[in-house]
């Protein structure tokens, strides 16, 4: 269960960011922002292989003592960032991958909507519901 989920566009502007409201959201925003550097590094590192060979799932980007940040980038350079609590050790890599996959699928659905202009903040309810299922249930 993620603590914060963010979708960042190709130009590194956020399209969607949602955190568990109990904690300081600004902190998560900042974390996501710093993780973008790591994402850039990872995707630029695979220089020899073109995008089609590069795996979309980037894995653990950035661990701190409080939480871990996982990254995923699509072929169109849209980045998904998931922040999970470090205390939640039960989360396995496969689960993170499946979360990213779901995110990617629902993001694609949002994109398919002709009423959505790329670059707009994502306001789709379906997307919200998907994200809600992945977020830590605020108690």
């Amino acid at each position: 269960m993620a603590v914060c989920i963010a979708v960042i566009a190709k130009e590194n502007c956020p399209l969607y960011i949602r955190s568990v409201p109990t904690q300081g959201e600004l902190k998560f925003h900042y974390t996501v922002h710093t993780s973008l550097d790591v994402v850039e590094e990872k995707i630029s590192g695979v220089g020899k292989a073109l995008a089609d060979q590069r795996e979309l799932y980037l894995g653990l980007l950035y661990p701190t003592e409080d939480y871990k940040v996982y990254g995923y980038v699509t072929n169109s350079k849209v980045k998904f960032v998931i922040v999970v609590d470090s205390s939640n050790t039960s989360l396995r890599d496969n689960e993170i991958r499946s979360m990213f996959r779901k995110l990617h699928n629902s993001f694609t659905d949002v994109m398919c909507n002709p009423f959505y202009n790329p670059g707009d903040p994502i306001q789709s309810k379906a997307f919200d519901s998907i994200v809600s299922t992945m977020m830590v249930q605020a108690c």
Binding site: E41, P63, N105, P114, F115, S124, K125
Partner: protein, 766 residues
């Protein structure tokens, strides 16, 4: 009570209200609870409410029967009109507007009730008649009280004289007009008079749930049913309703006709407010044609966007409507999806809230393939599945979407596809074996490993790997029961092997890790006895083979000395198999040989085994434990198999009879083979021992040929050989288990190292 004559409209209205209050279906409602709420919602003072209650007789009865309820409602209307509350006035006041109830939270209740099958009426009128208030079960709701009502249009409309509406509507008419038929009747107390007459005109309409609605239906015919142009027109729609202006008729005849009738039908007790009536559907289809002439085709997203943008709904809502209606998430609308979207737009324009999920009746008639797209759950309303009318048109439009669904499904499937963990025998030992066999048998092209014959016993990893890769292909025919999976795994394993090759420093290890060694060509494991003979040859060749492989395993676990040179035995056994097959004079042998042939020629080498068994005693003393093990390994492809089987099944004692032994290895050849592979892998580190053992094995093998001779002699020899085989089995089993353990340890070590590496990696860039 006094007799009460109600107009039809009133009748309808009251019955709806009664139903809404009569949640228990008891045909009477308690005086408290909903009824009181309702009365309070009428915004009358409590005193008046009490008075009404008293007048209608509920206080006498203690509850509101239907008649009491009706009387009460009428009294409320009276009170709201400012008329004195008198029983006599119940029947005298003719033009009494329907009682108005402030919706507030009642609206929510009403909505819920609305969702119930019985209470559709008051609410249904909504879509056609945009008057949200109406929607609220014909309760006149003051605009602010209606949360779901489109604020802008409604507020203005009621005030405006109905007669003004028609002129405005033509302006609004563009593509299609949505007609908010009816609602405003309830709207303002101030215009009840104005409203009423036209309302009455509408009386003839079929009595649907909502009297008002029904009243509206005929007159509103002219009103545009859907106005996709400006909101002002929609706001004027309520006004239109009461007016039976001819102008509107001309412009919107078709759609309005659809609307009203459909609305009525909707109101008339259909459970599903989202149901698309025939006229509506026809209208939608016509509109679809204006965009896309082919009814089975798709409307691209951009065209649909333009079309629906004309409805002047906010983009966010249109986006939500799209999400709901684009069932297959393909970015285009089929006819069904288009109808659903259109219907939702109409509903929204009329003030209905958009559902969270697509209502059942709006779902395109797809076969349930589109799981990946997320089949919307049925709306809370009790919805019929789409009417038959919808079915047929759905079929064709849905076909393309079906096709579109497939890729999604496939993609999702690919994600979750689990590659068969086909055990491929990656062990180089196999290759060794094959090579050995090739060397020995030479001309035995029937040998499964014959393909390898072409390859010199190159011990380079690539060669081994390549051989391994090809070998599986050839060994498929070996008759391993696992060959099926074996074959299928060829490619992935080959690739795995290749990968291994590229980056596994120690190929043996890499091979081991890559794939659970599929039953290797098991030349050795094929049969216990024959292998003995082969072992001689194998072991002879093994040194050559193993030596190169030895250095390949630098980092390999310091294999326990006890580990017999498995690869050798397998290798040697293979040729044994060949020989046994060829020279099989033993009956049992022959019987098994053909069977074994597919697996390992050595396999069937019963004679070899016997010979080996004969030699066993002699050899036992000479060989060190390792060699003994190696010998035993080499001794029997079948034996080893048996051993493995034994190990696995702990049936060491099961093979009491040679024939049994012969058969057992044959029976589960794949298993032993597999184990063999593993053990081969384990043995890889132990290959170094092979040279030592090869000699011993060679000696053992050499003794095997004597077995056939002895067979004919007496049972004793057979029994002796059986015993020896058993011992061999035991030793091999032990060896096998040890090797397995080694392998596991190695793998764990590797995993832990990898984990450490992973942990360290994130910090690499810091």
């Amino acid at each position: 009570m006094e007799s009460l004559t109600l107009s039809d409209v009133e009748q309808k209205y009251y019955s709806e209200l009664f139903l809404s209050c009569d949640v228990d279906n008891a045909k009477k409602v308690a005086s408290n609870g909903k009824v009181l709420d309702l009365f309070r919602a009428a915004q009358l003072s409590n005193e008046v409410v009490h008075q009404i209650t008293e007048l209608c007789g509920a206080t006498r009865l203690g509850h509101f029967g239907r008649s009491q309820f009706y009387i009460a409602l009428k009294l409320i209307a009276l009170a709201q009109s400012g008329l004195p509350l008198r029983v006599e006035s119940l029947n005298t006041v003719r033009d009494l507007p329907l009682p108005r109830f402030v919706m507030g939270k009642n609206e929510q209740e009403m909505r819920h009730m609305f969702a119930d099958p019985e209470n559709q009426g008051p609410y249904l009128p909504r879509p056609p008649g945009r008057v949200q208030a109406k929607k609220v079960s014909a309760h006149e709701t003051i605009q602010p009280c209606v949360p779901t009502v489109d604020p802008q249009p409604d507020t203005t409309s009621p005030v405006v004289s109905p007669h003004q509406s028609p002129p405005t509507s033509p302006h609004a008419w563009r593509k299609h007009k949505r007609q908010a038929s009816g609602g405003n009747v309830d709207r303002q107390p101030s215009v009840p008079g104005v409203v009423w007459p036209p309302f009455r005109e509408a009386q003839p309409g079929p009595v649907t749930g909502d009297g008002m609605w029904s009243a509206h239906s005929p007159p509103p015919v002219q009103e545009s049913w859907v106005s996709f142009t400006d909101t002002p027109p929609s706001s004027t729609l309520p006004m239109h309703l009461p007016s039976a202006q001819p102008e509107s008729t001309t412009v919107r005849t078709v759609p309005s006709a659809m609307t009203t009738n459909e609305i009525q039908r909707q109101i008339s007790g259909y459970d599903d407010p989202w149901k698309i009536t025939d006229e509506q559907r026809q209208y939608y289809i016509n509109q679809f044609k204006t965009i896309q002439t082919d009814l089975t085709g798709l409307i691209p997203g951009s065209a649909a966007k333009e079309f629906f943008t004309k409805s002047k709904l906010p983009i966010l809502e249109l986006s939500h409507i799209w999400e709901l209606s684009d069932f297959d998430k393909d970015g285009a609308l089929t006819l069904d999806e288009f109808c659903a979207a259109f219907h939702l737009v109409v509903a929204r324009k009329n003030g209905y809230d958009l559902p969270e999920k697509l209502p059942e009746s709006l779902m395109p008639k797809l076969i349930d393939l589109d799981d990946s797209a997320g089949v919307p759950e049925p709306a809370p309303e009790v919805g019929f599945s789409a009417s038959p009318v919808e079915v047929t048109p759905n079929k064709s439009p849905s076909m393309p979407s079906l096709n579109q669904n497939w890729p999604e499904l496939n993609q999702s499937n690919e994600d979750t596809a689990i590659v068969h963990p086909v055990p491929i025998r990656m062990t180089p030992s196999k290759i060794h074996m094959q090579e050995m066999e090739l060397k020995r048998t030479g001309s035995d092209h029937t040998h499964p490993t014959s393909p390898l014959m072409a390859k010199p016993p190159e011990l380079s990893d690539e060669t081994k790997l390549a051989a391994t890769i090809t070998f599986p292909g050839t060994t498929v025919g070996d008759g391993y029961s696992s060959s099926d999976s074996f074959t299928s795994d060829q490619e992935p394993i080959s690739s795995a092997v290749n990968r291994q090759r590229s980056h596994s420093g120690t190929s043996p290890e890499g091979l081991k890790v890559v794939a659970p060694p599929p039953p290797p060509p098991r030349p050795n494991a094929s049969h216990s006895r024959s292998s003995s003979l082969d072992m001689n040859r194998n072991f002879a060749a093994v040194p050559a083979v193993t030596s190169p492989s030895g250095p390949q395993q630098p980092g390999v676990v310091a294999f326990p000395p006890a580990v017999p040179p498995r690869p050798l035995p397998t290798q040697t056994s293979v040729p044994h198999g060949h020989r046994s097959v060829e020279g099989d004079g033993l009956s049992a042998h022959t019987s098994t040989s053909p069977h074994q042939m597919p697996e390992q020629p050595n396999f069937a080498d019963f004679s070899q085994f016997q010979a080996f068994a004969v030699d066993q005693p002699a050899d036992d003393g000479e060989k060190p434990s390792d060699s003994g093990q190696a010998e035993r390994c080499a001794e029997s492809t079948g034996t080893m198999r048996t051993a493995k089987n034994d190990v696995q099944a702990e049936e060491r004692n099961a093979t009491t009879v040679n024939s049994a032994k012969v058969s057992t290895p044959l029976a589960p050849p794949p298993k032993p083979v597999r184990r063999r592979l593993k053990s081969d892998d384990e043995l890889r580190p132990d290959v170094e021992d092979l040279p030592q053992k090869s000699n011993i094995i060679a000696t053992v093998l050499a003794t095997q040929p004597s077995i056939p001779r002895s067979i004919g002699k007496d049972k004793k020899a057979i029994q002796a050989s059986i015993r020896r085989n058993k011992e061999t089995n035991t030793v091999l089993a032990r060896l096998n288990s040890e090797l397995q353990q080694q392998l596991k340890d190695l793998l764990e070590e590797r995993i832990s190292l990898e984990v450490q590496l992973e942990q360290l990696r994130p910090f690499s860039h810091l």
